[in-house]
């Protein structure tokens, strides 16, 4: 459409900001990283057996070993899931407890610059591969749920501390000033000024972490740290797909329940008591 362009319009067009360079730069880096990573797609191809296995798995998924799901024997799914829940529960509690000192000592508004040391330690703990941790604890408490508790406990320190720090650094100092003005002692300031601000959020963090830990706990069994992971692994290794699918269903149902209640409770915490 050949319309004559108004000269002042053209001027502005010429003067437009050209974010070209920055975009090309970012785009190139990302493309480079992606192409470099393509190496990792070495598609092994689908063989006869893999299709067979996939079909078996799918069939098993809709037809799990109902006995395992509905019984209450030692090796049944409900029992194992309870164990898994227990591991997650105790582990989260342990982790929360251990995180308290870490978090307080790494919050800028409490210890100032010393906080950097603390947060580095926390990062180190967080990047510690958690299977390694589990293997190390197996040397202490053998294969079994207690190992799971210890592993999750220490593992959670990383994430929980980080979130605690966010809460702590969010404390409104205004309340402390008000308490000061009314002549409160240090203890009273902590008790009435700081703790109320923290409790609701700390509990919210714990519940959130519990949710994640349930998922982690299901997996720990693969290393032998108790819970349903071991059953899953052994069932799969022996190609007992229906047993494996029962385990998976157990996980799905429990995790969905936990997620549902966790979200509900956390919402309530945030809005009221």
């Amino acid at each position: 459409m050949m319309k004559t362009i108004n000269p002042s319009v053209f001027e502005i067009y010429q003067a437009r900001p050209k974010s070209f360079v920055r975009n090309i730069f970012t785009g190139t880096i990302i493309t480079f990283l992606l192409i470099w990573s393509l190496d990792v797609i070495n598609y092994p191809g689908i063989t006869e057996s893999s299709i067979q296995i996939a079909q078996n798995i799918l069939k098993a998924f809709v037809n799990p070993t109902w006995n395992l799901i509905f019984s209450l024997e030692v090796d049944s799914i409900p029992v194992l899931m309870f164990e898994t829940l227990g591991i997650a529960f105790l582990g989260t509690l342990l982790g929360s407890l251990l995180s308290l000192p870490f978090a307080f000592l790494s919050s800028k508004n409490i210890v100032g610059n010393f906080a950097y040391i603390g947060s580095t330690i926390i990062t180190i703990i967080r990047s510690f591969p958690f299977f390694l941790l589990a293997l190390m604890f197996v040397r202490v408490s053998g294969p079994g749920p207690l190992t799971g508790v210890l592993t999750i406990g220490v593992l959670s320190i990383g994430m929980i501390s980080k979130m605690y720090i966010e809460v702590i650094e969010d404390i409104d100092p205004g309340i402390l000033q008000a308490l000061d003005a009314s002549g409160a002692s240090l203890f009273q300031k902590i008790r009435f000024g700081i703790i109320p601000q923290l409790t609701a959020n700390f509990i919210s963090v714990m519940i959130y972490r519990f949710e994640i830990n349930v998922k982690n706990a299901t997996v720990l069994g693969i290393v032998g740290a108790g819970g349903i992971g071991f059953t899953l692994l052994s069932a799969m290794s022996a190609f007992r797909w229906q047993d494996a699918s029962a385990a998976l269903w157990g996980i799905i149902i429990v995790v969905l329940f936990v997620e549902y209640f966790s979200t509900k409770i956390r919402k309530k915490l945030v809005s009221g008591e």
Partner: protein
């Protein structure tokens, strides 16, 4: 099934009502104030009860079987290993770490990228405020919850039986996991934004898709980048473990060296991973700072 759940929740609410404390106070001039329901006592009791149950189940039974003394004597094991790791760091082992380390990073990069790509349209379809009268959001959100119940490792395990060992299954597992989480985070963001401009662009005759691209993406893209970077960090840590089921990366050599009790090598691996994580964290913080 639904009625069963309803019955259970009704039972609990009735039970709850009875245990909840309601205090009504009468003031000097006769007005009554009722303190709102306090759940603290009830919830603390529940937590205590649960705690005792699980403690019994797991901890006490362990002590009963093996004895507390035994446990105490074994605790040093943990620290000896830790000590060995810290003191015998074997730097020359790094040569053997580099390749698997790169694989771990590659899986994370590609997995996060592809997972995000698939997540975006799904997040669009799952947003209640964009898909007003459709059933999609509910179904998709439920589907995503189910997908999210399994950590990456479970998917990797599953795939190892279908596709065999190799980085491919690690990648696939990461993609699925990323997809599950990022979709959720994205639709949560989309559902909280201002729809005004979206309505305006729709009113100008654009399709929902075009309106989404022009009016919603600019509002959310900052937060999306944050979400993607955050997930990349999670995937990095998760990929490190994938090797355990043969899905590539440093997990495999980690497991091997651990079984061989070569703690010096183990700590080298952990150290390398740590360095990568710290670098990525700092880059990510830098980028996130620039985005806001």
């Amino acid at each position: 099934m639904k009625t069963l759940c309803l019955k259970i929740s009704n039972f609990f609410s009735n039970f709850r009502e009875k245990l909840v404390i309601r205090r009504t106070m009468t003031l000097a001039d006769g007005t009554e104030i009722t303190k709102p329901k306090s759940y603290t006592l009830l919830s603390s009791l529940i937590i205590l009860f649960i705690f005792i149950y699980f403690w019994n189940l797991i901890v006490s039974s362990f002590f009963q079987r093996f004895g507390f003394q035994f446990f105490i004597t074994r605790i040093p094991n943990f620290f000896t290993i830790l000590n060995a790791m810290v003191s015998e760091v074997n730097f020359s082992y790094f040569e053997r770490v580099i390749d698997p380390l790169f694989v771990t990073i590659q899986i994370s990069i590609l997995g996060t990228f592809i997972g995000t790509l698939i997540a975006l349209p799904i997040a669009f379809l799952a947003s209640q405020n964009l898909m007003k009268n459709s059933k999609f959001p509910m179904m998709i959100k439920f589907g995503l919850s189910v997908i999210r119940t399994f950590p990456t490792l479970v998917y990797a395990l599953l795939f190892s039986f279908i596709f065999g060992y190799g980085t491919f299954i690690g990648l696939l597992a990461t993609i699925i996991f990323t997809f599950g989480i990022i979709s959720k985070m994205m639709y949560e963001v989309i559902e909280t934004i201002d729809l005004g401009p979206f309505i305006a662009i729709e009113a100008s005759g654009a399709s929902k898709l075009v309106a989404f691209r022009t009016s919603i993406i600019p509002q959310v893209i900052g937060r999306f980048y944050s979400i993607i970077l955050y997930n990349f960090e999670i995937n990095l840590r998760a990929s490190a473990i994938l090797g355990f089921v043969g899905a590539g990366g440093i997990g495999l050599i980690l497991n091997d060296q651990m079984s061989l009790k070569e703690y010096g090598n183990v700590s080298m691996i952990v150290l390398s991973l740590l360095v990568v994580v710290i670098i990525v964290e700092n880059i990510s913080r830098f980028i996130r700072g620039k985005l806001s």
